[in-house]
Subunit: 414 residues, 4 copies
């Protein structure tokens, strides 16, 4: 167990920690600690919502979540000698939930997958599932099960949903400009096209005075992935992965949060994977001038680890870029993947799951989302791979037809 | 070796075979043979262009290809007892290139990956690579190498790019209607938004008279994947895969073509994977009423096989839905994947490959294209996984920087 | 398809081919062809018994097989420039059964697994299964099934059971000397401790006159693996494998035979894997002086390929070196593996298979045999891994107990 | 984190714990806790030697280790309702080293691989390596490195070397009888053929009075695996594995110890894998009457987990049952595996490692040991698979020959 450079008392909000974290991206958030290149260290994390979601059978907390709060990040950690233009090597040595005590917050033996209501965040299939729903997962070492999804058990592909280096002032300005431009194309949209800076709910780390005000006023929201990494939600950032992150400020200023016990590709439920607080162990190093050397200027590059759960049999679904109304979209992989997800849900409903249950399952289990082709105009083709071994029944099609059973229910709103 | 139910003389065009195939989708194309449910049989195939592309060092043939010709399909094969509403089980028992003789056509010991010119088909990155280019691959049993891509060798993930059941008249009308509507939004676009029916170049199988005229006038082009399967270009339809295809006409009328020695996910070069003629061995069976039983109404469902090439180490690239001009696109996985591809190409250029070479490599090698997240507004995140073992050098980033070498050249236009 | 340098007419015995092969190892067997280092070529093979075993429901042919005949080998192929002390690189590019015609001989759409009778060869469990038995397997592209083993289907891990370079005269003398010494410790044992030179049934390739007589008189039997490779029965010599073979004579003189559609580790049934005739495609090259450079003096070194069947779930059995009578053997991995095999057979019998059926299955399916520990005196521990996916039922233990069904029968003797 | 039912203070010997464990197998060792079938619980463990081996650069501690002490086991844990004849389902939910504090004992951030001296335990290759040696490994989350083995890094396949149910009095008597009979065949052998009961150094758990005396006098040593499981050293008992153990006494009485951060198959160094103290999380359940139901009477059956480190490329070595003096042994897999190990060591020496270093590496890294064939008289064939990715150089043979470098040194004796 390496040295803890950012510790969290899970009985208190991130705002009330001795050294608080942050929930906006801004170059003026001070590093809370400096480590050497070559160091190994541990960072403790809150769950992304700062414990707004409970281990219960109602999705009211998901419906009513305050979305100005996420993602609660731990850090920034400065790396000695890091300069703009370098690549920061980030090795994920280990990751796990919070040592269990009372079970009060996500990560202490349990986690959750939620679907946000359309009016409060929405999700990938929000037109089809406009209400909030939730599944609570119990952790059994490497395995997760859910009372809200009987018949399912799988080894989690544990990873941080979000980590990244701090943006430079220029880069931040670019983000704010381009996202504002997008919002302006449909300012009243529900859910919004993007999440603009929002002082309310903001947490500026250890910044104070003017700096804190700038962070709250200008700080980029943590929702989207951007050039520095950020909320990439790449499920393969699991144990043993090595990520090469562009550096934009002196010290790099690495922050992390949004730990996932597991996630399906797409994180289609948005709230989200199997969310939890916990810890992550990093090793860091530098490739001086690496951005230019390797042409890695706009996004991280990575090497996945080799201790992910391993499956060899999948049930796979296909979608093409014809939307639900029958309209053709030109090589639109988003529509194609949405159709693949909807096809999978229809299939799972035939076995007795509700649509909400199937949706939650796709957001949480180690499914793969593939771009099969994006050239055969007008239809992109995406496919979705569900490991068959996660079910305690044979989920493959056969001549007799599916065995429809009572599969319980997930948490819904009151 | 099971019975050959559709044979091809590779010295002649598909038009001149004793029993010709077809290159349009239409319910009036007669089945050329009927097999029983439970049968195993072999189908021989031309390469998708009917041998327009040669084993040479010029991409002029790609530039000048007649795109009214593809895809030359073998079939249709009718299955006794198949009725609309059934699911046709299609097992891919084996697949391979043409037994080598003169080497005159793709599949006889070699195949090709091409990038279409913008004016004649285009490709996924056509704005960046508007010209035609080509790599010729030599087959060494399970391995492929290319004189146009020195330093690379990999086991192919061999599969049919295209197979599917025949559409009903209603379904065909739906296709034509919705694709026409899309074209009408920008009729002069280059490349076109979709490929409308086109009598010129059409081949109606064994249809004659009025039926043949209807096929040529109304027949859907084979380019896009649709509800029946079609040109899905799913690389995991490899040996051992089982596909469940919706049935829309009596007999199902299964056709197949566009065999790929290998392909990267996305088939981003469009012309295309590693293209070849060859053979495919099928086993077929029926799930009566399976479409309703399993809710499989709009696209096939499948179980990938377990004899694909297996890698455990990948170099991976990330893209987000901010386009090359810096404009944000709302959760657009197509843009995100394009950026991931462009990032990979920039990286490979640092090692001495030309952009065209890198592009061709991504279209051919068994790379994976993943939808990492499609909910973190406004940026979708896609990732692209290149197996590191396909290079004869260590392609991973290190402190010294990449070793830039002369990596030869691919075929370009005159 | 590379050039065929050794062709076989499967309607005739290896003895009656235009260019016959051989079934003894001897430096005086002339090479039948010479290829360059760097060459790719195809070799055609008879099944190891020269077609003594038929596609029928009796094991009488196994019981009565003439064991002076195997293994019928194709070659030798000389490699230009190869000299003693070199390492011969042998790449297995492809391998497969005989193109199906009449089905008359093993490899034409079918193969067999046999257990030799104790009096005629014996097998690993000959004390438990002294009689002959047989299962005939039907090939369906990558998959095999057997009417003698209902409920089982798997992708074969196809490989040559036997290939190797020719021994020098000195090496041959060493073999004959040490094996004679072993035989002399119990000359009347049934089955014998080793197989001494045996002129009867021998085939000396294209040797004639004195040379032929020497080959028959002194030639080493092909049964055991030795320093040159030989009958190693390593199932992972599958497509894509690279083997580095020591060279003992000028030209290396590579011979090959005993093709297996599939095999379980141990080849415990002895007659044997899933035996077949067929073809194998090789690429060869040289590492001059490689034996000394790499210290590879006594046995080949190899890199397995990456297109083997892939499984992720196994049912595994354990054995320790306490024999069936309760006697302890000091760190004896052979006894431990035998007990693991017997434990697996007992388990499978609970599901309705006969002991012979279970035995045949373990010899044929892609099972793994592991040496778990060989130091915890006095008991070695071996384990045996059966992929669960090869059964069409759930073979894992559960609270209800196994479902015992009629699982048919394998071929037995009259 | 489930409830800890057996806790260990790592600053004290197992003998001095509040509730001590045991280091002999005997039915009279009282259970220290009883759990329900279906329970999940944590057990804390000492390293197998009770901390005799230190984090230093001398192998003197290995040379001088008191072998009457191992293996220090935690438990027994009784399971409510377990009766002789049942199968105890043991799920390995999680496993890991001791939370790091001072680093004083193995498991607190480090572990060791040792080779015992011939006079004190010996090892698999003790004739070749009669002296003691040692490598200390540092843990970096999932990865291990060693200052004694530069150039090597790998993800550990973490598992318990030893766990099992308690023997009945009858079974214990059988063990003692058969092992004594073996010892009597060569009573003075060094190392001994087996380890007889030995009161000196024994620890009888919470037994007292007559019971304690019986345990010390009759208790079976923990070295070998036996019918109940025990020291099987199966590396695939990693996270997610399910093991079905025969039950011989009421309550089953499960004990565990000898945790390994990683191990190569064979555990050929004997002292041993990468040894550590730590914790293990179990889930247990019962199959009533399962021994008879499934014919599992002599050894456990298991399902490996699916979160092991995953490799796809291996460098593999072959051995046959001809010993180092050139003598043939009849189908002796132990000799064959020994030769494969020696071949691997010779190869690694060509790259600059000492023989001791190579030996230690084979004992620690996730290598596979395969029984390739055990029927081709007189030579068994075994093979050993080393993942190539564990080296920071390309370890595969090539035309240039190996790059011999200074690879440091391992710990030796003074």
């Amino acid at each position: 167990m390496p040295e803890v450079v950012f510790s969290v008392d899970q009985t208190r909000s991130m705002r009330d920690q001795e050294v608080p974290g942050h929930n906006r991206w801004h170059p003026d958030i001070p590093a809370v600690v400096t480590v050497r290149a070559g160091a190994e260290f541990r960072v403790e994390c809150r769950d992304w919502t700062d414990a707004q979601i409970g281990d219960n059978d109602s999705a009211d907390d998901v419906r009513d979540a305050d979305l100005t709060v996420p993602h609660m990040l731990s850090g920034p950690v400065a790396i000695e000698g890091a300069e703009p233009g370098d690549l920061l090597i980030v090795d994920i040595l280990d990751i796990g939930p919070i040592p269990q005590q009372s079970g009060a917050v996500a990560g202490q033996g349990w986690g959750y997958t939620g679907v946000f209501a359309r009016e409060n965040g929405g999700s990938f299939l929000t037109e089809h599932f406009p209400g909030a729903s939730k599944a609570v997962w119990d952790f059994h070492g490497v395995y997760a099960t859910s009372r809200h999804l009987p018949g399912v058990k799988f080894a989690g592909i544990t990873h941080p949903g979000l980590f990244g280096t701090a943006p430079s002032a220029d880069l931040l300005a670019t983000w704010n400009r381009r996202e504002r431009a997008l919002i302006d194309t449909d300012p009243g949209r529900v859910p919004p096209l993007a999440w603009p800076p929002q002082p309310h709910g903001g947490l500026a780390g250890t910044a104070s005075g003017d700096a804190a005000e700038r962070v709250l006023a200008e700080g980029a929201r943590t929702v989207p992935p951007r050039e520095h990494g950020g909320n990439q939600d790449i499920k393969n950032f699991s144990r043993g992965a090595r990520v090469f992150c562009p550096v934009f400020v002196d010290g790099a200023n690495l922050s992390v949060g949004d730990l996932h016990y597991s996630q399906g590709e797409g994180e289609i439920t948005f709230c989200g994977a199997i969310e939890m607080g916990g810890f992550i162990d990093f090793h860091v190093d530098l490739i001086k001038g690496g951005m230019e050397k390797y042409g890695v200027t706009t996004n991280p590059v990575f090497l996945p680890g080799n201790v992910e759960p391993r499956y060899s049999e999948f049930l796979s679904f296909v979608g093409i870029s014809v939307d639900e109304s029958g309209t053709n979209h030109y090589l639109d992989a988003t529509v194609a993947y949405r159709r693949a997800c909807l096809n999978a849900i229809e299939y799972l409903k035939k076995w007795g799951y509700s649509g909400e249950q199937a949706y939650l399952l796709l957001g949480a289990a180690p499914i793969e989302g593939r771009i099969s082709e994006v050239v055969d105009a007008p239809n992109a083709c995406c496919s979705l791979y569900i490991p068959t071994a996660i079910f305690d029944f044979d989920v493959r099609p056969n001549a007799e037809g599916p065995v429809k059973k009572d599969r319980g229910r997930c948490a819904l709103t009151s």
